[in-house]
């Protein structure tokens, strides 16, 4: 009986959220506080993503195949002041960008992942390796013995570059969104979703390329002709890897398989950003702490004021509050992705299109409703 009622309540929830999406609403409840939190946090996220993006592209383009890339977080500017700031930890935590990159690399999916297994990629990589190690017979000898090792490094560099280019676009969208909000053009959560969706659609076909140089010679590891595009080949795998599957965090949650906390179908095992528990943020070994730590430097005043007023600890638990807002904002990005990838416009009047949409939405919602969305919406302050 319990099982039946649980199933029924979940199917009711799915229907409720389908109706909500068809109506043009977002997964996240629309409220003034949610709007302030989402726009404010996306502004600081945009600033951080800008820096992450620059660094990922810098690493991909200049630090590839380096045995000890000691200064890879310095973006080419190495001086005593920057080293001092780095040691003092007064810096952005680019490690988080690498966590996300590794998450995407691990989970794969999309055209980028598929292209990295093609003969074209292998051939271009081989050319690059020959040029890079022209005067290094030891490495070339090792490459002969272990032929998969160095190409795998270049696959990883391709992800550095791919994620860097993806975040370049997302950063601009989020900062433009904030500017638009400041001008009074964004008034609700659905407005936020629409803005993000428009940004995604505008850049959907933007090519993702990776063409590192050795000296003056360029090596098109991922040429434009490969047809790798922003939305389907980096955006969708990113959402899958980071929002649903998570980055390879260690020690955050223990799952008990015997208590059925791990589904039989690994594809249904979700532990990404939408599912994350914000409470352990700040603890050791919890990588999202790094992102929250970075975002706290760029919070707009109105959001900082809200946090100070909202919590009994003022700024004492800022990183958890940022994480809660961040999770809210990610539900808006997810809504935009769900809307953008739908087979037909969600507000269509056509019955067949509606049925197709519903089938598509059920697939998403069956996963999304396992996330923190219900809890987050329950906490929404009108």
């Amino acid at each position: 009986m319990v099982g039946t009622s649980v199933k029924r309540s979940k199917s009711l929830l799915v229907e409720e959220y389908i109706a909500r999406l068809e109506k043009g609403d977002a997964l996240l409840d629309d409220s003034p506080q949610n709007l302030v939190e989402v726009v404010g946090i996306l502004k600081s996220y945009g600033v951080v993503l800008d820096a992450y993006s620059i660094n990922l592209c810098y690493v991909a383009n200049t630090q590839f195949l380096k045995l000890f890339p000691l200064f890879k977080y310095f973006n080419g500017e190495v001086n005593s002041g920057k080293i001092g700031k780095f040691i003092w930890h007064d810096r952005l935590n680019y490690e988080y960008a690498e966590y996300c990159m590794k998450g995407m690399f691990w989970h794969g999916g999309g055209g980028l992942d598929a292209y990295l297994d093609t003969p074209e990629f292998a051939a271009q990589t081989e050319e690059l390796l020959k040029a890079y190690y022209k005067y290094n017979p030891l490495m070339m000898g090792l490459h002969k013995i272990f032929p998969d090792f160095l190409p795998e490094q270049m696959r990883q560099m391709s992800y550095y570059s791919g994620l860097g280019q993806f975040w370049r676009v997302m950063s601009d969208i989020f900062i433009n969104l904030s500017d638009s909000y400041d001008r009074g053009e964004i008034k609700s959560i659905p407005d936020v979703v629409k803005f993000i969706l428009d940004g995604l659609v505008a850049d959907a076909a933007r090519p993702i390329v990776y063409i590192p140089k050795i000296g003056d010679i360029a090596f098109p590891i991922i040429p434009e002709s490969a047809g790798i595009t922003f939305l389907m080949d980096t955006g969708v795998p990113y959402v899958e890897a980071i929002f649903f599957r998570g980055t390879p965090f260690t020690g955050t949650v223990s799952y008990n398989a015997q208590a059925y906390e791990i589904p039989y179908d690994p594809g249904m095992f979700n532990y990404g950003a939408l599912y994350a528990d914000p409470l352990p943020i700040g603890g050791a070994g919890i990588p999202p702490t790094l992102l929250m730590q970075d975002m706290r430097h760029f919070l707009p005043d109105y959001l900082l004021k809200l946090y100070q007023e909202k919590s009994i600890r003022g700024e004492g638990d800022l990183r958890i509050q940022i994480c809660e807002s961040f999770q809210r904002s990610m539900f808006c990005v997810t809504t935009a992705a769900v809307q953008g990838l739908a087979p037909h416009p969600l507000n269509t009047e056509d019955r067949d299109q509606q049925l197709a949409n519903r089938k598509y939405l059920k697939g998403w919602l069956n996963r999304i409703l396992e996330s923190q969305i219900i809890k987050v919406n329950r906490k929404t302050v009108d």
Partner: protein
């Protein structure tokens, strides 16, 4: 000068309780008075000759001569550390008291009365005077538990009163018997100590004294009042109770048990050592089973106080020094732990180890409290570098050659300390923060200031133990040699 240590808290209690001079909230006045008392104590320490046997700064004023009572006080290496501990913990207890406590004048008045009783008992060189101070501290402590205690404060306060009153009666009976059997007309400690009674007489007098102080320490099976008193008492009172008042019992053991009845003491020592071993194991075992953090610390206190009995029973030069060291060590560590448990309770409203979880959460938990608690547990478990290690090492090293089995029992008890405290730490501080505790108020640094002071001393005496041993070594050994 020595009388100032008694008069300052007594007069402060009178000013706060009976006059409007200290204002509506006498907290600041109380702090000033406690600081002055502590400063005098330190000044006294600077003038004190620790290499000299016997009492110093003695004051002897005839009081009620027809019953043999004189106001005879003095300080020696045995009482100095405890008097200093009392001054320090009184100040810390005042700091740890809520600024918005109900009926503050009565509260602070009682607190100073308690402090005066304890310091008077430590300084008294007259058995009857000791008894008066010993009894004096019962009354304010009863009220401090009964008025500002927890839900079952009435029960706990009454139980405390009955037990400790019985303790006082037994101690008094022993003193009266001693005066009667020696044929003296005075209760003066030095005079009575110069007599040597036959063994049988000593045993007749020592037995009620021992039972009396076993209740006070407390030693199993006379301990049942203590967990209730600790659980119901507010944090500052638990600090004083564990840090100072229990030491009245162990002080009486050494001063009167060993000092006056050495032959009888040696005769009963094997049985006392076994009782110490049992008490240590019993306290540790009970601590493992507790669900209330404060009860864990309370039972731990019972186990650790038993080490003092073990060391005193062994009556070696090293073990006597160790007994005094363990008193100081336990006073600091237990006060520290009670402060931290009190902080957890103040912020979460609970001490239930089955309810509290993840308090080390760096953003919304009590990470500093948790960190300090871990250090406190390390100190209590006897980890090197802290005062607990030195005191327990000295106790076991000094006692093992005389009573190997009871020492091993106590060693097992010390091993169990790590078990029960780590269970508490693991449950309360690690894991995910309990959802209903995710909006805890923050702990301000000044709230932790008293704990940091104690931690500093715990570490300092752990690294430089001779700072404590040289206070008491000469006098502790003198108890055995009749000096």
């Amino acid at each position: 000068m020595l009388s100032a240590l008694i008069l300052i808290p007594l007069v402060s209690a009178a000013i706060i309780g009976l006059t409007p001079l200290s204002g509506k909230n006498p907290r600041n006045f109380a702090i000033v008075a406690a600081v002055v008392a502590l400063a005098i104590n330190i000044a006294l320490g600077l003038q004190f000759d620790f290499q000299q046997e016997g009492i110093q700064f003695a004051e002897n004023i005839p009081w009620i001569e027809w019953i043999g009572l004189n106001y005879h006080i003095g300080i020696d290496g045995l009482s100095f550390p405890l008097v200093l501990l009392n001054s320090l913990l009184t100040l810390i207890a005042i700091f740890a008291t809520s600024r918005t406590i109900q009926r503050p004048r009565l509260y602070y008045g009682m607190l100073f009365l308690l402090s005066a009783g304890a310091v008077g008992a430590f300084l008294a060189q007259d058995l009857l005077l000791f008894f008066l101070f010993y009894e004096l501290e019962i009354v304010p402590l009863y009220f401090l538990i009964a008025i500002w205690g927890g839900k079952r404060r009435g029960y706990a306060a009454m139980k405390f009163l009955l037990y400790t009153a019985l303790s006082g009666i037994l101690v008094l009976a022993s003193f009266l018997g001693l005066v009667w059997l020696t044929g003296e007309t005075t209760f003066d400690y030095a005079i009575l100590r110069s007599h040597t009674l036959p063994l049988a007489s000593q045993l007749w007098l020592l037995t009620p004294l021992l039972i009396g102080v076993f209740i006070k320490i407390p030693i199993f099976p006379f301990h049942t009042w203590l967990p209730d008193a600790h659980v119901e008492a507010s944090t500052p009172i638990s600090v004083l109770l564990a840090g100072v008042l229990l030491k009245l019992g162990t002080y009486a053991l050494l001063r009167f048990g060993v000092g006056l009845f050495l032959e009888g003491w040696v005769y009963l020592a094997p049985w006392m050592a076994i009782l110490a071993g049992i008490s240590a194991l019993y306290g540790a075992s009970c601590a493992i089973a507790q669900k209330d953090m404060k009860k864990v610390v309370a039972y731990s206190s019972i186990a650790h106080m038993a080490y003092i009995l073990l060391a005193a029973s062994a009556t070696t030069r090293l073990s006597m020094t160790a007994a005094v060291f363990q008193m100081v060590s336990h006073g600091l560590i237990s006060a520290f732990l009670f402060l931290l448990v009190g902080m957890v309770y103040k912020k979460t409203g609970s001490r239930d180890v089955d309810y509290l979880r993840g308090l080390l959460n760096p953003e919304r938990g009590l990470p500093v409290t948790g960190g300090l608690m871990i250090l406190g547990v390390m100190a209590s478990s006897g980890l090197p570098g802290m005062v607990g290690f030195i005191s327990e090492f000295l106790v076991f090293r000094g006692s093992f050659p005389i009573f190997p089995i009871p020492t091993l029992m106590c060693l097992v008890g010390t091993g169990l300390t790590a078990v029960y405290f780590l269970l508490v730490i693991n449950k309360v501080f690690f894991g995910r923060l309990t959802e209903s505790l995710s909006q805890l108020p923050p702990v301000e640094w000044r709230e932790h200031a008293p704990a940091f002071v104690l931690l500093l001393l715990i570490v300092a005496f752990g690294i430089k133990p001779d700072w404590v041993t040289h206070w008491s070594e000469v006098q502790a050994i003198a108890l055995l040699t009749g000096g």
